[in-house]
Amino acid sequence: MVVKIQQGIEQQGSGINIEKDTKKEKYKKMMRKISTQKYLQVMALLGVVWMFIFNYIPMYGLVIAFKEYSIIKTISEAPWVGLMQFKEFLQDENFWIVLKNTLGISLIKLFIGFPLPIIFALMLNELTSMKLKKAVQTISYLPHFISWVVMGGILTTWLADVGVINEILLGLGLISERTNFLAEPDNFWAIVILSDIWKELGWSAIIYLAAIAGVSPELYESSTIDGASRFQKMWHVTLPSIRPTITILFILAVSGVLNSNFDQILILRNSLNESASNVIDIYVYQLGLQNARYSYATAVGLLKAVIAFILLLSANKITKKLNGTSLF
């Protein structure tokens, strides 16, 4: 018995020793490996350091949403206030206006702006002249590279009371007197949505065009033999073939529904159209950077990000169930 126990202890002991050895060895091996690739490690670590500073420190900075941060104290010194900032936002007199504008612009953009590039890509694909197709592509991608500032300059010129749009509408007899369209909240959503489509229609079609180019020619050949017309081919071959692409982009579009095109709205908004142009992103900018209400603005931004993340997950889940395609 005693011998057995001793043996057992010995065995256990030696077992531990072996484990220790392998751990040590593993550690040595790891260090050796790292030292042979020290240049490589430094190259990768520089990227990690950059991400730590510019991505992770701001993530830590989100704690000020639960604090009352002011410019005289550091983040850790500021007192905790729990969910006060969030409660305040829900009671904010601007809460419903901001929500209405954000969702209104985004949802209309989703319903009109999302299908249009698909239709555009399908129509472009039906062009029989390759030269024309190339020319249309080149021209329609161009506005994507023009900055929103310049676009804003064009739009303010065109929509002013002496601008081209007024001339046209007056000429057609659709309006009786000149108006400055950007000064009227009623027009703002339409202006934002249409100018966004104007700028991004061609560029958004690129992914669909690539997906269409990837459809197997055999599918078209066999449907031709079956006597399918071009519209039937479009409907029964092309569209189902690019459905995965459409699904992925739809998930991304749904999760971005609380994002507004900040660059665009910042340049088109003014004090007169504020009731239609104040969206969440603009509100955060105004509160935080113009009124220095850092904690409150961070809370509003954080709430938006959390809802956006939930939207992404649910859109992903729903499409996975419906047609088996998902982002992750």
């Binding site: 990227g47 993530m59 590279f145 929103w148 690539a210």
Partner: protein, 299 residues
């Protein structure tokens, strides 16, 4: 597919469809081009005359005074300098730094590769948002500092993914040969990888170059010194804060003739701001499209 279409004679409905389709496409091109054309034509017209309106297709009283005014307004010239400097410097540092990190991460033998990837992937889904970022930049002392255009834009994880997928396709043999010759990994990156990666470098450089050229927000929130604001920020202030009068008084000092207006200078500035991109874009279109596709497939 196109061969088949030609062999089968088109039916009448297809013939009608084709022609309507061509018309719609031409219409889309026309409404895309025309606003740009309008700005160019009006900027080339005498400013006072243009105020009467009615210039749609061609300048009525041709004049390059607006452009002279643009290039003799000190604020505009300085801002152009800032934009050019930040685009050149910012693009070079971005491409070099992002490619360097990407090369290290693309190597399958890199110890801790999965950890490095995880650190990056998390940044794709979560961020601190505007205010914490603003406070960080302030605490780093980047306010009113030219480096605010360079350092915070030096790295981009989406671009890293594009680089990694390209580096993976490169043959290993050249790296092995360089290693046998005693080169370290950094030298391999400089001497072997970069020369082989010109297509992807061109793509990323173009994306970042356009971003640097067009971005105005950094100049709005981080910079108060007018000598450090890029041209897009200058234009933003003119358009959004309608300080066109101020622009006019700036220009009036340098221009004796009274043929320019704030509006005509604004249009000319817009043209000068956009021209570099419009000139290089058609030749580099394939790189843009390629980058867009790699990014969307892998990302």
């Amino acid at each position: 597919m196109f061969k088949l279409l030609k062999r089968n004679r088109r039916t009448t409905s297809e013939y009608i469809f084709d022609n309507i389709n061509i018309l719609i496409m031409l219409f889309i091109c026309a409404i895309t081009i025309y606003p740009i054309w309008y700005v160019i034509v009006n900027s080339l017209n005498d400013g006072v005359d243009a105020m009467k309106g009615g210039i749609y297709w061609w300048p009525r009283e041709f004049s390059i005074e607006n452009y002279k005014a643009v290039f003799s307004t000190p604020g505009i010239v300085t801002s152009f300098g800032v934009t050019i400097a930040k685009t050149v410097f910012g693009t070079i540092t971005h491409v070099f730094f992002t490619a360097m990190v990407a090369y290290a991460i693309s190597r399958r033998d890199l110890y801790g590769r999965n950890f490095y990837m995880l650190v990056g992937v998390i940044t794709m889904f979560f961020s601190g948002g505007l205010i914490p970022y603003f406070l960080l930049i302030r605490d780093l002392g980047l306010f009113d500092n030219f480096m605010v255009y360079i350092i915070p834009t030096m790295f981009n994880f989406f671009h890293l993914i594009i680089f990694v997928s390209f580096f993976r396709e490169l043959p290993n043999s050249l790296e092995e040969a360089a290693k046998i010759d005693g080169a370290n990994d950094f030298m391999i990156f400089i001497k072997v990888i970069i020369p082989l990666s010109m297509p992807v470098i061109a793509t990323i450089a173009l994306f970042q170059g356009v971003y640097q050229w067009n971005d105005y927000f950094a100049g709005v929130i981080f910079v108060n010194n007018p000598d450090l604001q890029p041209i897009q920020t200058y234009l933003y202030k003119v358009v959004a804060e309608s300080s066109s009068n101020q622009m006019m008084t700036n220009a009036a000092g340098s221009i004796a003739t009274k043929t320019v207006t704030s509006q005509s200078i604004k249009l000319a500035t817009m043209v000068v701001t956009t021209l570099p991109i419009m000139l290089v874009y058609p030749f580099l279109q394939k790189y843009f499209v390629k980058g867009m596709l790699i990014g969307s497939v892998k990302g």
